[in-house]
Symmetry: C2
Subunit: 332 residues, 2 copies
């Protein structure tokens, strides 16, 4: 290993691992019986079952070098994964990190990625317990996290997508459309926000941070179905609707209010489009038996009605086509 | 989704998932409380802790299109991951699959990958419980598995790398150097074996299948340290040696016998090199208190002695430099 190695290739596998693991080793919990450095990790599971999910970000698909720092990418990939656990009513207990990158990648980039991951995971007390490092051709960088977790205290069973019932209330844990607005701004070359709304949108696009405790809180409050908004309200709502065999009927006033909350950065039509279709938001979308159940901070978005053979997300009397909005990895 | 879609892009995300999940859904166990299709999986953990490991294969780094079929890649990535569990004394309970691939990838390739994964995992009764699909630039294909597992029945604690002690015996669960020999053949343009030895080598390079029960068997027999041979005997042995603070002193006759077992496909020097340095073998390397402990099928490779300040793998009176042999993802 060269002194002060500049790239992964200079540092070699052992050198990269030493630097990256040092940056990751922020949280230590007594649940980690075997951590990084052996063939596998061994993680305590207190409640008889483990939640497991995985999510990947790819350079030039999920971020652009000019738009996002390595630290941003680290924070975003952690939020994406932990939001999936939260939407089941769970909390994280351990993360595995995979970095696929070329020899030419600056070692500093890998370390800053690790710092972002460690910071975002450390914020909620989740340790990094293992991972993998693979080389790739120049220009190819992929970052994957597998998040392990457990149902939170007081949550007896996972909150699925398939268990919404007619007569229930549809609600969301926070704003929608921020990350989508940020993406529109970045595409238009606005890398620095010119006002508070733009700064919020850009920040949420680059490094979304949502309140991950809202998943368990909603589960304890009686949420009957839940999903995190990663591909957009219409697309993710459609998943609940189809899996549950119901309609999610959006309340026009509620949706327009969310669009107004996005502020003056976008036209009202564009803001509406981002509320309905903007992905990467990572707020939680859930159904509850009635309005009285909603936890503090959640707002009503509509109601659940019988599918009448056409399950989906409905808006002003028509079913919204999920293919018309939201994010599809293969554009289909 | 187009009819009979030819590529991932033609099928769209939902279409790809439907096809791939159908191919993966071979093993069903009652331990899977929530399987693919929700935000996370939920997997029963019977023994209070979960083993977790992850491994990635990248096109043109870990396989070449001309050398390996999608089915080969699927089998190999499963073996890589399950061998890591076996080397802790564990067995698999669930797999997560990540596929990063361009829109242009033939859907058939993804389905054959899934078939290989399902076949290799099904052989040992392990279900696929979830995963992720991400798009990438043309030419970039990465396949990751995260394997979850538990210590096997009768194994009370994980077998680590750091617990070999002087006076013990070093042993291996099977042959070494097959996958490395296969790689030499492929590099030389030999895609079809011309005799049984070459066919064995090529098969083991393309789709290694080792006896994964040997990990738990060794653990129950009293193995004091264990690792699977993924980067080569010298490199992986060096990990046990350094983590344990000991020397692994190879027995020259035993190593030469393994080289002879590789048969006439290689010169004796090249065969010796592959036994010492060939990676991707996925047999298990372990230390035992004495020869009487060795399970059936294991053979003695050497002995453990005090480090005298120079831990490592020793051969004919010198320490072998792990950087001189074996596989380093970043060549350092």
């Amino acid at each position: 290993m060269s002194k002060n190695p500049a790239t992964l290739g200079d540092a070699g596998e052992r050198g990269v691992l030493a630097e990256v693991l040092a940056a990751l080793a922020v949280v230590v919990t007594d649940g980690v019986l075997v951590g990084p450095g052996d063939d596998t990790a061994l993680l305590t599971v207190r409640r008889g079952a483990v939640l497991a999910t995985t999510d990947t970000m790819v350079l030039d698909r999920d971020w652009k070098e000019e738009w996002s720092s390595a630290r941003d990418v680290g924070i975003k990939i952690v939020t994406q994964n932990l939001a999936d656990l939260a939407s089941m009513g769970g909390v994280g207990t351990g993360l595995l990190l995979t970095l696929v990158a070329p020899e030419q990648l600056p070692l500093r980039w890998a370390c800053e990625l690790a710092e972002g991951i460690a910071w975002a995971a450390g914020r909620v007390g989740v340790p990094v317990i293992g991972g993998d490092l693979s080389s790739a051709a120049p220009g190819m960088v992929a970052v994957s996290i597998t998040a392990l977790g457990e149902l939170a205290e007081g949550v007896d069973r996972p909150v699925l997508r398939s268990t919404a019932r007619p007569g229930e209330v549809l609600a969301v844990s926070g704003p929608l459309g921020r990350a989508g607005s940020g993406w529109v701004l970045l595409k238009d070359g606005v890398l620095q926000g010119r006002n508070e709304c733009e700064r919020t949108a850009l920040d949420h696009q680059r490094r979304p941070l949502t309140d991950l405790t809202q998943g368990p809180i909603a589960a304890r409050a009686g949420a009957t179905s839940m999903i995190d908004v990663s591909d957009g309200l219409v697309r993710d709502g459609d998943r609940i609707a189809r899996d549950s065999g119901v309609r999610l009927v959006l309340d026009e006033d509620a949706v327009r209010a969310l669009a107004r909350d996005l502020g003056p950065a976008l036209t009202h039509d564009e803001a509406l489009r981002q509320v309905l279709s903007g992905g990467e938001e990572h707020e939680l979308l859930a159904t509850f038996p009635d309005r009285a159940c909603l936890p503090t901070g959640w707002s009503v978005l509509g109601e659940v009605s019988a599918a009448q053979e056409r399950p989906g997300v409905w808006w002003r009397g028509v079913r919204l086509d999920p293919r018309q909005g939201g994010w599809d990895h293969f554009g289909g």
